[in-house]
Symmetry: C2
Subunit: 218 residues, 2 copies
Amino acid sequence: MNTKELVLQRKNKKISDHAVRRLPRYLKKLDELYVDGVERLSSNQLGRMLSITPSQIRQDLSNFGEFGQQGYGYNVRDLRRVIAAILGMDRNFTAILVGAGNIGHALIDHFDFNSVGVRLISAFDANPDIVGKSLGDIAIYSIENLKEMVSVHQPDIAILSVPMAYANPVAEILVEAGIKGIWNFTNVELDFPNATTVVENINFSDSLLVLSYYLSNI
Amino acid sequence: MNTKELVLQRKNKKISDHAVRRLPRYLKKLDELYVDGVERLSSNQLGRMLSITPSQIRQDLSNFGEFGQQGYGYNVRDLRRVIAAILGMDRNFTAILVGAGNIGHALIDHFDFNSVGVRLISAFDANPDIVGKSLGDIAIYSIENLKEMVSVHQPDIAILSVPMAYANPVAEILVEAGIKGIWNFTNVELDFPNATTVVENINFSDSLLVLSYYLSNI
DNA sequence: TAGATTGTTAATCGATTAACAATC
DNA sequence: TAGATTGTTAATCGATTAACAATC
């Protein structure tokens, strides 16, 4: 299979969010197997490893192309590459951190942006005590310059980790400046009037409440 | 409506995870409205605010009981209470932080556990430099004592934020010691053999990959 | 009362699973 | 070749939406 022939979406099929969210799980398992030196893999084997039916795996992959071979299965190395490409890992997306508090710290120090193909280029904060300094090798700029910097440098993703009260106003600035994606850590649902912007939420309080629900209901 | 009569699940109906994950959104909006002094609300109004069909809201709520009134709608204050109770917010769940690195820091400093009815009682770490100190008013104990402390004090929830390599071994200790829920920040899929333990994942890398996917595919 | 809105049943839509012909 | 496993079509299952009688 030639990766260059990769079609990201076949036949204008509508691809469900469920399917998309399974792709990172496939990828991670394939990475593990690759590191372990495994060369081939059937949908059946992968399914057992992830508690997913082989049917579903084949359906999911068939949204994007034909990556297997009858009687053989999938080549681990190739399939990894394909899924990485589908997920946009080779697009060299750039990101800025907006709000350099504790979560921002944690991301800069511990999150391997590289491993998902994203490059973090700078940070912005309102606190004059930290503006002008840097976190690791990420410089912190004043939030005053956010709009201009986004307009000029056109980063793809804004990691939004400002205090809740600022979530919507800052998001609006980002959208106006032309940001394409927002990774939203604010626990606030962003309300856009005219949104072509992609928003992906990491919502701690919703998540903990769901855990609390299931704990309450065995 | 009398909150004491609340039944958490009617008719042994199976409640879908989708429905459960919408409840925190309802609650948050109801909180806002309550603070703004709004007294009543129809499923239609709430639906417009959240971009959810009124049908779905009524279906979701009907999983748990009858909380509205024909011709009137829902009482904001009552419905808030009911949903909070369904989500287990008045169960006084306790939590421990396992791995007191940056994410742990961020949670202690900024996350309002109180607002979801959870009480954080202590933290554990392997780093001898911080064991014995505290973060805010949360004491940090040695991870050596984890199993014993969990067995004795029986916290409900473990917030798992250890390095990836330790995710599964530490999770196993927690389960053996009788933990009921794990809020998993490790980016690792926990594999339990005999799991009655509830796991709720916060997976940064999966989430960022999904954002990257949608950015790649307009 | 008349209008509004619920809770629920029925209809639709979408996602998952099963089955199987094609073929490596 | 024979066995294995794909990609896809069909069947099933589950979730969402629509419709409406009940009733505040």
